[in-house]
């Protein structure tokens, strides 16, 4: 992901297309087209803002961008995202987690194989995350159902991010820079909800009791 010239993320202001370097515009368009094509119609009907890390775009380039995303059922909001401009892309969010300010998205459906959800903030899924699906976010992940796919919490390095699920049986679990995977042999699962967090530099699962 970090190799891509642009990324699409959800934020408080709707979708934000972050472009890392506007001078490579044609590559940016190519990369965006690939990502949108891969997401199928996940973003259908959404409105997106553009955030430039380096450089600026001409109005012709903006028109071209608008046309591209219109092809995927999205429309362009030309207002710059106010919230984004205040975050420096090089500073890790790691040591200043202002949780009360985070975004949280509520997904009221099951995320199925082949579907990917990327979000800048926390994710709550009212449904399952099936094997073959992927949830990546900068905050915490809460699944009110079974988590069988890949989950990555604290994707921008937040070490105190957690993953919670009623049934926590992921293919792979990532928190910040750490990765753990399901054991190869079948292990009996506890009946109740579990939570995963980083303890002494490894991802640990424990039964959730409040």
């Amino acid at each position: 992901m970090s190799q891509e010239l642009c990324s699409i993320k959800g934020s408080r202001e709707g979708l934000v297309i972050t472009i890392s370097d506007a001078s490579q515009f044609s590559e940016v368009i190519g990369s965006l087209d690939r990502q949108l094509a891969a997401s199928q119609s996940f973003f259908m009907g959404a409105s997106a803002k553009v955030f430039l890390r380096v450089g600026s775009l001409t109005s012709e380039q903006l028109d071209q961008l608008e046309q591209l995303i219109a092809g995927y059922g999205m429309h362009l909001d030309r207002e710059p995202p106010s919230f984004y401009s205040s975050i420096s892309p090089t500073t890790p969010v790691q040591d200043s987690p202002k949780r009360e300010e985070d975004n949280t998205i509520l997904v009221r459906r099951t995320i199925r194989s082949g579907q990917r959800l990327h979000y800048d903030g926390n994710v709550v899924v009212m449904g399952d995350v099936n094997a073959g699906a992927e949830v990546v976010c900068t905050g915490d992940i809460v699944v009110l159902g079974s988590l069988r796919g890949v989950a990555h919490a604290g994707a921008e390095g937040r070490l105190d991010a957690t993953v919670f699920a009623f049934r926590l049986e992921p293919t792979q679990l990532r928190i910040a820079h750490l990765i753990s995977r399901a054991p190869d042999e079948k292990v009996p699962l506890p009946e109740g909800p579990e939570i995963a967090r980083i303890v002494e530099n490894t991802i640990q699962l424990s039964i959730y009791n409040h």
Binding site: Q40, S41, F42, M44, R109, T110, R112, S113, G114, Q115, G127, D128, N130, A131, G132, S146, R148
Partner: protein, 262 residues
């Protein structure tokens, strides 16, 4: 106005074509007017399963591209005649030549005339699949109780949702009760746990299917076959009847012993 159903699965070889043939025949036997469309262009075989291969003159592409009248491409079934007709897939052409708008137009025309239009989709999720689902009002997924087939079915549910086809139903095909009992095969609840969509029916694995496929006579007409019974039940459920799921346990002496002992 009839209903347009697409039979699809993602994974190949799970029984889409067999299911299409049997549900079509089952519905025709219940007095419905049914049109089957084989959309698996380049790899047609619905006509073979129905035993109609030798009657093909025109195919789906001929109709879509206006080379023949729709009426002329409809192949009447041996047993049910006008009540069960088939539009066969083209054998020789590339499937990229069909576009979803043409399919939609054809389907609109067919559902004026028929109670059920059943589209047999190709395996995969590419162009051919997208053609097959365009114009469908409802989708029936076929899966076998195998992890790979269920995974693909799950993927297809997601794709159907994004194409606006909500509330698909699933048929679990080729279930082997003996293997389920030993814990060697996923059972109905395992599949249900993952997909969470209504189960339209469960069809047991049955040797009669192979025999009937080779003969070109759908197993749904075979009163002795359990798979045939399962398909008859599904056809009746499609008409809104409430039919309980079959008891798939074996009925021999060993089965009886096990029941007594348990």
């Amino acid at each position: 106005m009839g209903k347009v159903m697409v039979i699809t699965s993602g994974k190949g070889g799970v029984g889409k074509t067999t299911t299409t043939a049997n549900l079509g025949t089952g519905l025709a036997a219940l007095g419905q007017k049914v049109c089957l469309v084989d959309t698996d262009i380049g790899l047609r075989n619905l006509d073979v399963v129905l035993g109609l291969e030798n009657r093909i003159v025109y195919d789906l592409l001929d109709v879509l591209e206006g080379r023949c009248e729709l009426r002329k491409a409809l192949i009447r079934d041996k047993q049910y005649g006008e009540r069960l007709v088939l539009i066969p897939a083209a054998q020789t052409r590339e499937k990229d030549e069909v576009d979803p708008d043409q399919m939609l137009e054809l389907v609109e025309q067919l559902k004026e005339e028929y109670d059920f239009v059943i589209l047999d989709s190709p395996a995969g999720i590419e162009h051919g699949f997208k053609n097959a689902i365009s114009g469908a009002d409802m989708a029936i997924l076929i899966t076998t109780p195998e992890v790979s087939a269920v995974r693909d079915a799950d993927r297809v549910v997601g794709l159907l949702e994004s194409a606006g086809l909500h509330d698909p139903q699933v048929i679990i095909n080729r279930l082997r009760p003996d293997m389920v009992r030993k814990g060697d095969m996923m059972d109905i609840s395992d599949v249900d746990d993952i997909l969470r969509i209504p189960i339209l029916g469960v069809v047991p694995d049955d040797e009669h299917i192979i025999v009937s496929t080779n003969r070109g006579e759908p197993v749904v007409n075979d009163k002795k076959s359990k798979a045939g019974q399962a398909y008859r039940n599904i056809a009746r459920r499609l008409l809104g009847e409430e039919i309980p799921f079959m008891d798939l346990q074996e009925r021999n002496l060993m089965g009886w012993f096990r029941k007594v002992l348990s």
